[in-house]
Point group: C2
DNA sequence: CGCGGTTTTGAGAATCCTCAAAACCAGTGG
DNA sequence: CCACTGGTTTTGAGGATTCTCAAAACCGCG
């Protein structure tokens, strides 16, 4: 159920000035001195394999990460093994903030694909707050955005039916992926198994399969190579009674 | 379903230096200059009645609030009226941050009892970040804590059974209330109806009633005057398979 | 070819829902 | 004082949703 905790550490250097993410239109422009500081803030890069656990529940992580490439997910486990996936982590997302602020991680993070992560040192966060209020604001911004996503997810699990829930989740992920340019002109491909979907929706694997099957019959999605192809995002949104997110230019630390 | 939006505004002045909350042991000590700034940051006090809506989904609030006294809850509505309660707001909690950062509220906040709120102006947040990195850090801290509560709530709704869910919620609220000194020596009293519990747990009112009844039969809780008396917090935690929060000294803005 | 991970299908059972109505209770106006 | 009202809690009954157990089918990979 949980992935192996092997962690193929591998450090390269890609200067922030040539960050592949920052040129994307959804990220806000940085002042030169902000960019300089982030560059020094960055301690290196970490590459991990699919299935690896990046952060572990219960342990205090000395690092903060920004995901540069790949897909991951945050989850919690109950003592008897029940798993709940809380949210998905896409490029540009910050992880490990809870540990840096509150002391201990209360959730784990696992890689859905191989990942490239920017590594920051936890201790430097205070310096960031002292010297770059704008960046500090951005960190809070990211935390507030995560909260917003969790709110919608909570509404989904609490009050939407199985089909609505599935439709919401797949539309949500497809839209996030598209905004990052992770999809070509064709349908978005989500690197998740039906087990991941089940653990996100709070449903059993069997019932999730039957629910997804209905969406597939209606040509809203398709399964290929242990991944989900999202064929019609707007139809999914309509099924979920969800009008979509209000995407504004966002910060990238 | 939603409360009346009447808002009995009433402004008094209680200087932060005589804040009734700050002396509590769970709040961290402030530097004198931090306290000074918060005092100037504070624009006044707002008193609202039970049932009033403090913040409305979809509207950009020009204010930030810290709850001084009373109970409230955050919730979202679906177009057809389904309601999901996301979390409860207790004294010392900050509300309206999402709006200040992201532009628009995506949830509403309603008073469970009459409330006293500290009012801050949204625009001053930037000044706080510039001049008091420590306070800025605190704001982020509060956001990360909210996220942590939402994570646990998501696990609850997604993976716990009805009884486990109810037990978790009531233990969670009882512990939060106790930490704030809101309970005397006796059992904690939670000012919620079974409808609130149902909308928090993602269950129907009928099934919630039958579930709570089981807990009442076992003497874990009791209902009195449209409120829940929590008789045995530890037993509830055991039912929920929940070990409780890690309460550390926390900031109060 | 055999293996492990993933998807699919069947069947019966538990959980949870909806509809409906009654009981209870504090507050309100006659 | 009493009837009436609205909000809350309680109970019954049938039905829909979702779960668990079990097994088969499928598929890339060594």
């Amino acid at each position: 159920m949980a992935g192996k905790s092997s962690r193929a550490a591998h450090v390269r250097a890609t200067p922030c000035s040539r960050c592949p993410l920052r040129p994307l239109p959804i990220f806000r422009n940085f002042e030169p001195e902000e960019l300089d500081f982030v560059s020094t803030f960055k301690r290196g890069e970490l590459v991990v394999n699919r299935g690896s656990t990046v952060l572990v529940e219960g342990s205090p992580s000395p690092y903060l990460y920004t995901l540069l490439a790949g897909w991951a997910f945050r989850y919690k486990l109950m003592p008897d093994g029940r798993r709940q996936i809380l949210n998905y982590v896409l490029p540009g997302d910050l992880i490990g903030l809870q540990s840096s602020l509150l002391g201990e991680m209360e959730h784990s993070v696992e890689a859905l694909s191989s990942l490239v992560l920017c590594v920051f040192e936890r201790g430097q966060l205070k310096e960031l707050y002292s010297r770059f209020p704008g960046l500090a604001f951005d960190v809070t911004w990211l935390a507030a955005r995560e909260e917003q996503m969790l709110d919608e997810n909570l509404l989904s699990i609490g009050r939407r039916s199985a089909v609505e829930r599935a439709a919401y989740l797949l539309a949500f992920l497809a839209i996030r992926a598209k905004a990052l340019g992770l999809a070509g002109p064709g349908p978005v491909q989500l690197p998740v198994t039906q087990q991941h979907v089940a653990d996100t929706l709070g449903l059993s694997l069997v019932h999730t399969n039957r629910t997804l099957r209905k969406l597939a019959e209606r040509k809203r999605i398709a399964w290929k190579d242990s991944a989900c192809l999202v064929l019609d995002v707007e139809a999914l949104q309509a099924i979920a009674h969800w009008s979509g997110p209000s995407e504004k230019p966002r910060p990238l630390i």
